[in-house]
């Protein structure tokens, strides 16, 4: 089981901030996102700019996932101020 988290625009597009999903052992972040795109088609156009974190660390699309991982997808950050 993988815990998926969405933030900001992505949360709005998916209509939820988190969910649990089963993936094949050794599946990559990219494969997980492919599954999510089928479930939430609105998020697909964001893929080119999305950032990915696995277990609260920035990660890449080819990272292999293990049971219990938390994977977060989010747009480029916009904290701070002027």
């Amino acid at each position: 089981m993988i815990r998926v988290r969405f933030f900001a625009t992505l949360r709005d597009l998916a209509g939820r901030g988190e969910m649990d999903i089963d993936v094949q052992p050794g599946a990559t972040v990219a494969e997980l996102f492919g599954n999510l795109e089928r479930q939430f088609p609105g998020i697909a156009r964001y893929r080119p700019i999305l950032l990915v974190a696995v277990n609260e660390e920035y990660s890449g699309w080819e990272t292999q996932l293990a049971d219990g991982d938390e994977v977060a997808f989010f747009p480029p950050v916009s904290g701070g101020s002027a």
């Binding site: 977060a72 916009s78 701070g80």
Partner: protein, 145 residues
Amino acid sequence: MVEITQHPIDPQAMVAKVAAEKAGALVTFDGVVRNQARGKRVTHLFYEGYSPMALKELERIRQEALKRWPGTRVAIAHRLGRLEIGESSVFIAVSSAHRAAAFEACRHVIDTLKTSVPIWKKEHYEDGETWIEGYSQAGRPAHSQ
């Protein structure tokens, strides 16, 4: 020395965190909510964060500054939730023996924070709202809605 909070940031408490007798320079950066953006009147902002990761990133940035400017002390706070015009969203305090290191470290912290800490700002206007997206890591302007 790093904090993500839902409550107003207390500047004096932040300054107290970096106070040191050998420090002759104290530099602070106070990021304040302004009443306009992109030519529109802003009524208020909402900040959302991935808090546990945001805390880790703030600490990473702090450690990087301490290493690059030895002898400095650095405290960083970022607020989440609804913020009104004039309130502080982010506050950075840096002390050091001399001013150059304090100015440079403070500038580095805010510039890095804006590109790597997982926090997002939603601008609310009189007639709607929009998530603001930063710049993608490739340095190109991000997709806008």
